[in-house]
Symmetry: C2
Subunit: 902 residues, 2 copies
């Protein structure tokens, strides 16, 4: 028997099914599934991916028998729809679409209204009673076919169209009348003749074969090949071709078209929710030219979203079609066990379903729907957890732009820290404090931020920077504060001299109101309405399930007692990273820190350190108290010392005056500490080795703080973390020093406080030498920010110059500072985990880079076997959910891989 | 039978032998070996490492039977030497030394003259007839024993000594007379009493047990533990203790002491060569207070090294002892099959051998000795190759400081590029050119160099910088030019304003003469005499053997036809790295390069690139011609574009004027290209991706150049190398582009030129993702400079601030920029080799980092299976030798590991 290359669907039965995705492509398999459910779907057929493969391997010829098979199926399709190609009374028109096993941009998309010709146009006019619509469809069909199938430069058609509109003095396409459309059609056809040397195909069968061959060929076009190469999609998959009858919702008053959600996508409430337009095409609903009407009576009575009452629900106007639609949506929800987003058309009172898919929803709705569906017995708790995307959860934790507002952003940047906020623009910390002092809200607008801006960032509602990436200073600090932040906004130009800034082409004064959306990266002029976050009972119930199912622990990165409390409220189970340097920048400390740095000998340095000691100790006591009973990982000083010193001549002079030192001396120190590549410079444990007294003071502060807290009845679990270790010897020397300090303190106090000493793994060498390092480490905490910088050789401060281009060109699937690069950086993590655990079974493993709060990265951490992730307090719930989802997927990691490459 | 803990040697027989190193320690095993050869060695015994282990494990008690065994052996020793402890006529004195299986600093070294007490001192005076010597020995013994065995602060003794000298108004120890020495001895003893609560031990047996126990304990002192931890020496090895009779060369005219080499250590000539002093101690020969006399008559007739004739050779003065010494040295050379450095003492006409070891020699001597010994049948060719250290070979290739000159350097820096040179100091390129213009030689003295200094570096004989490490710009460029260079000279302070500089505390004017030794890092004032390199017939013969036995190919890093020719002369088998950017800095090109960078759009950029194209093409034709028949790897543009732009306001203004552009515009470009961490910035293939037209021009220049060269009859083998690749996609895109360019050019020319496209592996991610990258690479070239920077997170420009401290504290065994870090960076290389070869069997593997010319690193490259190493032309012979040695050792790599940790 000859191979079967064509699969039919229609009249309530399909030859294919959902599990034939490889043969029929994703789209073909889905249509078949809907048809088999008894849902009324316009009939059609799918040509298999095998046919495509044959075509490509055999010099672009069709497999034997395909032509006859298509002819047979065309006949079946005409019978099923009761219409014929080229019929001047009631013509069959079809759509032709590609459909590969994985979704794949770059291939031929869709040709609509195939079958239109001089006969069929007559029929279409008769059936729709709308000559303008019919001629416009014909014009569009020729242009689309000409471009997609015949490879004609679409600009040639557009020129004619623009010329016509100019001639008529109109702006909209729909202002062109029938006669002008006819003339355009003639012109389009002569373009086709000129460009291809042949007339536009009149026969629908010829049109169809042209489209089929174009779909096949599009599998090998350049964009599709690049996409496959970058996403590891096999060449041999091929694409299917879907040929489906067109139906029309604009043939008269017994016609309609609409879209609906099976539950409320904003709140998750269980009610049928949608809009329709009588006597209209699908585009009309979307285009917003006519105002859509509510589907149900219930909704009509409540009023539409815009608040207007109307008197024409589908339920009232077409009760039978409505009843069928309700039956269908319930069936679809039961079948797919999820809220559906459906599209339908009613043609002459007959309901046709055009599409069903899982509906997009807000985070709030996602949680409510998941919980309701568990109660309805549709899904179980585990499934419920997979139904809420961690990013959706994030929405619940921050204010959002009111979804009702429909305004375009003036500029876009990177969505560095989610939530929305508005305030008056300030360029400096002083300005920011002045504005908040007068009781108004502020948005800090800067080229980039530095540690000296901390007070301004604290005062601000939101931060906007022109430079920097997802792990720039502004981004990291803002996320830590749970504050809205947009960074790397290249359309922002600040002119401090004139006190103005430009967003794109618009200029604003300092003090103007801005609204930022840190979730999308949008920057808006003025004060837009926001909605506050709601953590309702659904949320709390859902998070209980989440915690029940996850295995990874979730800690927070927090530097202060206030942050620690916040983190605990969000469910953090410890602190994974307390950065001591952030404490150094406080206004009352920075002078002493500078004293320490400017010290000309060890004695002076020790004297300054002795002043810092009690302050640091107090910090730690506070953090230990907040985290009573939970572990706290404190990282010793990491940044290079020059970060604490002024940079400009003016600042140097100010600091010299404040410190009562010669300007020359301060400048010399600043110059001698200058580094060409500070990221790879004198920082981390290199400071600990060359200035042991600094680390010694910090170890003392931590351990004395732990003793003080213990004396106050707090259950302390300090973990001391050495940054930037690259060799075993570094950690061994630091460990010896800390143990020596600890022994003295604990003996003095007569206390036994168990503490751990471990290291960041953030230098690639440390990852590959992890077996050596693990011999002297109680824990590893992967510092994946720096590890990413060094593994790729990307400075996070500079990579903006090429990173966007890399992501746009598909060289990088995602920003590696946002989502951990599993293949490269992840491989280093995996090597370190394997080598570390091999020599030290008790080794505790965590991650404290910004990736700890990124869901996909949390999945990676779970796969690779870490014990915990640590992230900024506001990301803790997100990480908890991601951890639970990872635990549920763990036995099935290939699925994760596929979902990523799809 | 009880365990044997003590091994005797003496009277021509030893219980131990050379292969008992683990039990007896290195020193004990060697003395035993000498004794067994029938060489007269002062008798003694070795206490085993097992005894030490017992002692440590058993709460510092001796193993049962040890005390009796030592007592027995002491008796044997007294018999063998015919002397007794505490004898007031002829006392036995012994030395006590530690000796572990591996050489290990930090442990107890030596106690000499043990056995001295109130009786023995009388005997010593009688025997030496030299009361001053005897009392001084006693004083030294008490101080040494007090410090090393009794742990008394040696400063306490020194204070007394200084006090005495002050009181006497003398400066030298040897100006203190007998009575004062007696008084000092009494004071020393009372210090011991006060500090230990017990009198200084009078009984030699008690002294001996104190010393034995001190040696055992020193195994666990802090420095020794740290050393073992850093060098992976097992704790359980323990140390042996060597107790050996003292002999004296200062007992009268029938006594003498001397040192000798069995061949001439400067030239390798086969003749006995040495110095002695009659009636003297060993220290006297070394201390240089008395002028040593020649050993042989032959030598006496030639005159000593200092040119003075003398009439008292040992041969003449003590013919019998001399004859015995000649027999012994010949026996030792035959036994050890290598030139020996021997120490001897003649006591009352009896010859005693104190030490023999392989003698140090110059490179020239090493080669000559190796070749002569092959001819003498002592060793074979393979062994000969292992006898010449690659670093010794280096000496032959450059001018050296005249070894006869005995001057201390004023300052020291890192020995960045070997050889010695002198010239007048110049601070700037202009000054340098002015000086060379007037026919004088110049040394370029700078804080650091940048690509703009190239012309000055070319003009200079040598380069001296205050900053930078072994792979700084100055170091790399100087090595490429084979020019003497000292970098990171922290004692150099340049004051451009006054036109002076300081070396340590001495100030010099610009134009002063300096002499640099790039082999040692020494910087000298004035014009010291140099000796020119000699590549004699021995060298050429030796290098033939070397090439016969090596497997690794050796290429050179060379950017110009002149360098390429030089490289070929030194035996390079291809070019492993031609850096196109060095060509960009030429005076006639930099304006066009700047035009390209300042271009405001792609058209302008293309116009500038079109001007560069013919220049680059000419460069490549020249290089291809020089390397006719050998492969040439060309790396496309690597540095960030801002490296080609001016930095200071003044330079910016100059460039703006030269280019006829507004200063503002040039400044804006400079600012917009500024990077915080240029090492991790917009460079390498990131430029190729964002400005494909640059790489396209370069690919065109290479391939057109190859065609031109081929037309001229040259056999071309171009290899195009993409720098800084981190992902497969980057290389795939670049490869596609180059192949497109190549197809057009080769079709145009109607030529078929095989070419390769490959990548640097210099980003850690590339190493761990090498399997992916190898799918689109013909070759990998490990860029271990950048790989080291990124694997460790050390900026080579900044690491000077801590790297020296790291090496001094033993955190790093060596500068990882000089010798490849096998554990970390090497592991990344190993991973990449393994993963790369797995998917691409034909993958060609090489290294082009500075490590390619470092012998230890060449060994690593051989172990890991690379095909070739590439280094600067002047290092090629060194790399060839290292490669041969590696091939000979390859089957035996553990040995290499041990020799490294020893």
């Amino acid at each position: 028997m000859a191979k079967k290359y064509v699969y039919f669907f229609g009249n309530g039965k399909a030859e294919g099914s959902a599990d034939m995705r490889e043969l029929l492509g994703g789209k073909g398999a889905n249509i078949a599934e809907m048809t088999n459910l008894g849902i009324p779907v316009p009939a059609g057929f799918t040509i298999t991916t095998e046919a495509c493969n044959y075509f490509m391997k055999n010099n672009e010829t069709y497999p034997p028998g395909l032509e006859a098979e298509v002819k047979d199926h065309l006949k079946k399709l005409e019978d099923a729809m009761g219409r014929k190609f080229s019929d001047s009374e009631d013509p069959l028109l079809v759509s032709v679409r590609s459909g590969a096993p994985a979704s794949m941009p770059g291939m031929m998309d869709t040709v609509l209204n195939l079958g239109l010709n001089e006969n069929a146009i007559e029929g279409l006019i008769k059936r729709t009673n709308n000559p303008r619509f019919a001629y416009d469809s014909y014009r569009r069909f020729i242009q689309m076919y000409g471009h997609v199938v015949l490879s004609i430069n679409p600009g040639l058609f557009d020129e004619k169209l623009w010329g016509k509109k100019e001639q008529l003095g109109v702006k909209q396409d729909n202002a062109i009348g029938v006669d002008d459309l006819k003339q355009l059609i003639a012109e389009y056809k002569s373009i086709v003749k000129r460009e291809t040397g042949a007339p536009f195909p009149e026969l629908p069968e010829e049109q169809l074969w042209g489209a089929i061959s174009a779909v096949f060929k599009s599998w090998n076009n350049k964009r599709a090949i690049s996409y496959r190469r970058l996403h590891n999609i096999p060449e041999h998959w091929g694409t299917g071709v879907n040929v489906q009858a067109m139906v029309f919702g604009n043939m008269g008053d017994d016609c309609a078209t609409g879209v609906a959600f099976t539950r409320d996508p904003a709140t998750g409430e269980k009610r049928f929710f949608g809009e329709y337009l009588p006597n209209a095409q699908g585009e009309d609903v979307v285009a917003g030219i006519r105002t859509p009407l509510p589907i149900s009576e219930e909704e009509r009575k409540k009023g539409t979203r815009a608040g207007q009452k109307t008197d024409a629900s589908l339920e009232l106007r077409m009760p039978e079609a409505y009843k069928e639609l309700v039956d269908i949506y319930q069936k679809l929800e039961r079948h797919y066990k999820d809220m559906q987003d459906i599209e339908f058309t009613i043609q002459e009172s007959k309901l046709w379903m055009l599409q069903t898919r899982n509906g997009k929803r807000t985070g709030r709705a996602a949680i409510r729907i998941a919980i309701d569906m568990v109660e309805e017995g549709l899904i179980d708790e585990k499934e419920a957890i997979t139904r809420v995307d961690p990013d959706q959860l994030e929405q619940l934790l921050h204010p959002m732009l009111d979804p009702g507002v429909d305004q375009k952003p003036l500029a876009k940047g990177l969505p560095a820290s989610p939530g929305a906020a508005c305030g008056r623009a300030a360029f400096t910390v002083d300005e920011a404090l002045r504005i908040t002092g007068s009781g108004e809200k502020v948005v800090l607008v800067r080229v980039e931020t530095s540690p000296e801006d901390i007070d301004g960032m604290k005062a601000a509602e939101a931060i906007l920077t022109a430079r920097g990436g997802m792990t720039s200073h502004a981004a990291v600090v803002a996320r830590g504060m749970g504050k809205c932040c947009v960074v790397g906004c290249t359309d922002l130009h600040i002119d401090t001299a004139s006190g103005t800034f430009k967003l794109g082409s618009e200029r604003f004064e300092v003090g103007s109101y801005l609204t930022l959306d840190g979730t999308s990266g949008g920057v808006y002029a003025g004060k837009l309405p926001l909605v506050d976050p709601v953590l309702d009972e659904y949320y709390h119930r859902f998070m209980k399930w989440v915690d029940k199912h996850r295995k990874l622990r979730v800690r927070a990165n927090a530097d202060t007692p206030a942050d620690a409390k916040k983190a605990r409220e969000f469910g953090a189970e410890g602190i994974g990273l307390a950065r001591t340097e952030h404490m150094f920048f406080k206004e009352d400390r920075i002078p002493v820190v500078r004293e320490m740095i400017l010290a000309s000998n060890k004695e002076e340095r020790l004297a300054a350190l002795n002043k810092i000691l009690p302050m640091q100790r107090e910090d730690f006591v506070g953090v230990f108290e907040a985290m009573n009973g939970l572990p706290v990982t404190v990282r010793l000083l990491d940044p290079p010392l020059h970060e604490f010193l002024p940079k400009s001549e003016k600042e140097i002079a100010a600091v010299a005056k404040q410190m009562d030192r010669p300007v020359e001396e301060v400048r010399n120190t600043v110059e001698s500490l200058h580094e060409f590549n500070p990221m790879l410079g004198h920082r981390g444990c290199r400071l600990g080795v060359t200035y042991p007294e600094i680390y010694e003071m910090q170890a003392r502060a931590i351990l004395e703080g732990a003793c003080d807290a213990r004396s106050a009845g707090v259950d302390v679990m300090p973990e001391i973390m050495i940054p930037l270790v690259g060799t075993k010897a570094e950690l061994a020397i630091m460990r010896e020093m800390i143990e020596r300090v600890a022994e003295v303190i604990l003996k003095d106090r007569g206390m036994e406080i168990p503490y751990l000493i471990g290291t960041m793994i953030e230098v690639p060498r440390a990852a590959v030498c992890a077996d050596q390092i693990a011999e002297v480490a109680d824990f590893f905490s992967f510092g994946t920010n720096d590890l990413t910088q060094m593994a790729y050789g990307y400075s996070r401060d500079d990579s903006g110059k090429f990173l966007n281009a890399y992501i746009e060109e598909g060289i990088l699937p995602k920003d590696p500072f946002e989502t951990l690069d599993a293949d490269g950086v992840g491989e280093l993590v995996r090597i370190a985990v394997e080598k570390g655990r091999k020599v030290n079974k008790m080794l505790k493993l965590g991650i404290c880079g910004e990736h700890g709060g990124d869901p996909e990265s949390v999945h990676f951490c779970s796969r690779v076997g870490l014990d915990y992730v640590s992230c900024s307090p506001f990301r803790v719930p997100v990480a908890r959910l991601a951890a639970a989802r990872a635990a549920l997927l763990k036995s099935d990691s290939p699925e994760l891989e596929i979902s990523r490459s799809a």
